[in-house]
Symmetry: D2
Subunit: 308 residues, 4 copies
Amino acid sequence: MSDRYAYLGPAGTFTQQGLLSLPDLPPDAQFVPCSGVPAVCAAVRAGDADFGLIPMENSVEGPVPTTTDELVLGEPLLVVREVFVNVTFVLCARPGTTMQDVRTVSTHPHGHAQVRGWLDTHLPAAQYVAAPSTSEAAGMVAAGQYDAAVCAEIAAQNHSLEVLAAGIEDSAGAVTRFALVSLPAALPEPTGNDRTTFVVHIAQERHGALNGVLTELAARSINLTRIESRPWRERIGEYHFILECEGHVADPRVGEALASLRRICADVRFIGSYPRADRQNEDLPHFATDKAFHAAQGWLAKIRKGEV
Amino acid sequence: MSDRYAYLGPAGTFTQQGLLSLPDLPPDAQFVPCSGVPAVCAAVRAGDADFGLIPMENSVEGPVPTTTDELVLGEPLLVVREVFVNVTFVLCARPGTTMQDVRTVSTHPHGHAQVRGWLDTHLPAAQYVAAPSTSEAAGMVAAGQYDAAVCAEIAAQNHSLEVLAAGIEDSAGAVTRFALVSLPAALPEPTGNDRTTFVVHIAQERHGALNGVLTELAARSINLTRIESRPWRERIGEYHFILECEGHVADPRVGEALASLRRICADVRFIGSYPRADRQNEDLPHFATDKAFHAAQGWLAKIRKGEV
Amino acid sequence: MSDRYAYLGPAGTFTQQGLLSLPDLPPDAQFVPCSGVPAVCAAVRAGDADFGLIPMENSVEGPVPTTTDELVLGEPLLVVREVFVNVTFVLCARPGTTMQDVRTVSTHPHGHAQVRGWLDTHLPAAQYVAAPSTSEAAGMVAAGQYDAAVCAEIAAQNHSLEVLAAGIEDSAGAVTRFALVSLPAALPEPTGNDRTTFVVHIAQERHGALNGVLTELAARSINLTRIESRPWRERIGEYHFILECEGHVADPRVGEALASLRRICADVRFIGSYPRADRQNEDLPHFATDKAFHAAQGWLAKIRKGEV
Amino acid sequence: MSDRYAYLGPAGTFTQQGLLSLPDLPPDAQFVPCSGVPAVCAAVRAGDADFGLIPMENSVEGPVPTTTDELVLGEPLLVVREVFVNVTFVLCARPGTTMQDVRTVSTHPHGHAQVRGWLDTHLPAAQYVAAPSTSEAAGMVAAGQYDAAVCAEIAAQNHSLEVLAAGIEDSAGAVTRFALVSLPAALPEPTGNDRTTFVVHIAQERHGALNGVLTELAARSINLTRIESRPWRERIGEYHFILECEGHVADPRVGEALASLRRICADVRFIGSYPRADRQNEDLPHFATDKAFHAAQGWLAKIRKGEV
């Protein structure tokens, strides 16, 4: 039976584009569009899908809080893969519409944030209407509800809309990073170019507690690739920290760092170790290599027996 | 001439409620509602308002990215005051509407996020429609566009709507923290219970650079109260860090820490030092007091002259 | 066959006094006085003695460089026990001698250093002559070579000298700490109140390398009890560091710290883990207990299998 | 009136050789030989000498405890210059003596430690007798008291002894570092290649206190060049730490670090900032330069006025 991939639908979104670019996607994969990140996660948790693809962060908009909250607070899911998707938008409308005709523009708020400057310049009088997704914005335009949509080109095609302008994003080269999640299962094998995601909760961020967390990484030459704080919800001013670092939990240095954090933090949730979709651009210092860790363990075993 | 306070309008939002709770609000203050955080900031920058009140973070939803981006990337503004507002929502509708009649519910996405659980339970079939603000949602319901709105009680009153349910937020006690901004000017005086907000940019988060930043605070017993990462926008995987810590830049320990960060970071933007609206709950260790800093400076001056 | 204990002789020194105070000294132990710390160590290395007792440090004079150099640079020996001896000196002379008669005073330089003040006050005109040991000073006085000796009372008795003054040390309560060494063998069992001694060599003390070493200890709540630098000998300005810390290498926190140092230092020599003869006066924080380490290891094993 | 230089006499010691190699020694300098480091220091403190030259450390023997204790515990003196002297020894005797005739060898214990291996090999049967100085050993040999002396060549010449063997030190290239001390006075000007010596006392070496001290240096890219622990004397197991680091207290980074230590340590004694006699072999990172410190101070002054 073929693998089912839930994703943030409907068809025509950047998430689907990410799904199609997964390097090891089976040819017979089935796609299950869902409305919203929670629905994707729910499908995976319920066994209605084997995998789910959800957006983690965007190079302009930043993190996607709903995704983070699902991973931090929901029933455990494991990130098993990541994929980067270049985000480029078109302005599209029903055939025959001109720029002068556009009085309302619909798109998803994240999409809107990325084209705000262009819209202010080219359509200063048009009213923005939030849509649940860029693809549905296109559908509503096709249905005549609004004049124009900001979406991926594929969505324009799906709805037979005409592209009025392409590449309208304010920051050229915006990129969204997506995570592929599954139920907890055997981790992807280490590849030598991996990323590890986890969450720490610190009882009270006092006395340099977060500093202590980062010191455990730095002392093992583990580069932090991202840190995001999310409210702890019980009261304002306390946070969870989602940390992403280079390396795989099966690597000695990462495993040892996580075990240390488990001791010193109120709680640690492991989210996954998986191949990086970008390249880590540095060699490890010799003292942080697997070889150095294994040699040190061998030495420790000997001195514990008095073989000095 | 009286001070003009821009705020995230329209009237009837929690921001207005925050404005009214500012402890030193002049009796003759004028209020200028604006549509969106950028508009509030623009009014202050243009001199159309003396102050602007904008939401920084919510204890459930987390940071408000638009606010952060304005403070990090826009023309410099200074935070001069903070205020906490307890967030509590009502579901309201046109008089005569019952729960059974509600097929569409409108509110701002942040409001929606805070009542999602309640809506799923009590109005599972109702469709959610995003509105630009909770107050406008109420207005649209009054106008007959949607069946019900989730908003502050004051907005229901303004629009003569009937409250169907009150206190419907999923996490009791959600709190929003607002910042009052002005053009750069003399800082508020230190009060002994202050907060300082600033932004650091690190060229590459490698070799424990963020750890180095936090070490400068921890070494001076400065508690970090919040850290938020925002994308650097040039490329994915690089970030600005917005840091908030206890203390005032006029305090020796905070000033010395910021000067150190200015040296070791690619860039530092100072956002403000202002009275905390909550209480810092610890005494300083003796070596971090102003007295200890001044004594050490006096000693240094002496030994530099060879008076040992 | 009974155990043979080499010690820094001759009979009548504080070392012998330390030997006799070893808590688990077998009743049939044989004592082998040696002339000098190197001779004690050589006897153990050659198998001519099972154990050797040598002075590590004195609370007034500081470390004993010859001992340190033997442990750092000589063929490996293991410290298996420590003992503290209160140092108190007498001035003694041949019967009939009075204070007025004393023109020359002999003792070991370490002994001299501890009574210098008393001698300056009470025998300002007497000439000091260095002797190889306080006991031999007594012997030379008995032989008529010098007028008076500064030594342990037992040495005065051995040589039938008369005590002119007792308790003449400048700092009341001086204490010498001795180490019992053996050839490498099974380590003493952890007792919950142990000390660990080791040596690190850092290629170049630059970029905070020693700081990095101490951070590995501090991050695991391991109190450093002593640090001594000894020249690396190849060129001036480079050093070995002898470190002593609380805990036993069999303790997870100490073992993990030493393994880390083995990775980050040019070289580490383990010198021993053995019961402390004084009391460590603090409870461990919960995150540094064996239990916390074992729990963290169990957790790591699980997440490495994807059991999150 | 010409400057008077006290030194560790008598004439013929390496200290005198160091004195003669001081780069800025006035041509009319007067030399005052003293017996022992305390006597040199006393002469300076009493105003009987303007300067005193005393040995700090040797590349084989390590630190000179008497010097350290004078600087740490005695009335304050300032180190104003350092000088390195290559140590090379001769074995000398009265004319006509052959190696076969030598039954007793006298020298200072520090000298003995540096030729022990050579003596064991070439004069295994000869008895060692400690002398107050290598020069006096030569004098006693000239007087017929012992057969041979180990001393500097200049001492052999002074006493008309014959050199039996030269360069007999076990570790070729041993070097002694001497310090020139004066009463507290204006410090030597910074040269860009300086060293700073100071002492810290930590109430209890617990909770990583020494680690905290070194962190203050490392955080400012200040290389530690030496650390020595000396007993605190009140009870065993507590220590003073003598630290030497690169840079001058007038340098912002060193001054700021010392002021921080003054706050966090129980006590700090400044011993001196003076030109290094060796070369520091690294450029400062840009963030530790004077320029970076001054820029940061200027920036801090501005933001404290709200000029952001």
